[in-house]
Amino acid sequence: MPDLPQTYASLAELRVIDAMHPGLISCSPDTPLRTVARMMALYRVHAILVTAHGEESVAGRGGWGIVSDADLLRAAETGDLDEQPSSSIATTPVETVPSSDELASAAALMVEHEASHLIVVERRSGRPIGVLSTLDVARALAGFPETHPMR
């Protein structure tokens, strides 16, 4: 585990499960990026997981890929989203973190791997149960403000 810098002091006592979003939104490697964009808009998320299977799976890590909204923008700039499958731009593998881990160590992992999202897994089973995003960590750093002032 990386040393925790002083800047994560405000995350002390928090676990990943305190900040994560439960549930996974995923697509298959052949799903067109246009559909991926629609899923992001429909569920108001910044990233969609791409399922992996067979030999691509890595024990304990799941072999997942991920497509972020920034990835989509880059793909849309150069081509037709209907013609590009999710696997063509997915980042792999996606790092995983147990739900019982300290949130500070997850934040350090994100920084280390320049990852905006981590897949949260049950420590015992390794089963994926949700996603931790940099926005989730930001919410924790801000003390979990409850509601958007404009809603």
């Binding site: 549930g23 996974l24 995923s26 298959s28 052949d30 399922t51 067979g54 691509e56 089973s125």
Partner: protein
């Protein structure tokens, strides 16, 4: 996605491997979301994790045969 009709709860979904030797991945459809070409699903996969899943052309719906309920008359008192 290749299928002859819309999926129903309880149907199976298979994602075929993209490389030689890759096995298909299978899940059970727990909920049908969206309509028409935007249909997608809440799926419980073989490893017991669940996701809201949008299939691509590599996915196949396997319809599960459902037995029809047989109405029985109550026995005479």
């Amino acid at each position: 996605m290749t299928h002859d009709s819309h999926a129903q709860v309880g149907d199976l979904i298979e994602i075929h491997g993209h490389k030689l030797g890759e096995t298909a991945r299978t899940g059970e459809i727990l909920e049908v979301l969206g309509t028409g070409e935007h249909e997608h699903y809440r799926v419980r996969w073989e490893d017991d994790h669940e996701s809201i899943f949008t299939p691509g052309s590599d996915a196949v719906i396997r319809h599960v045969k459902r037995s029809k309920a047989v109405a029985r008359e109550a026995p005479d008192a």
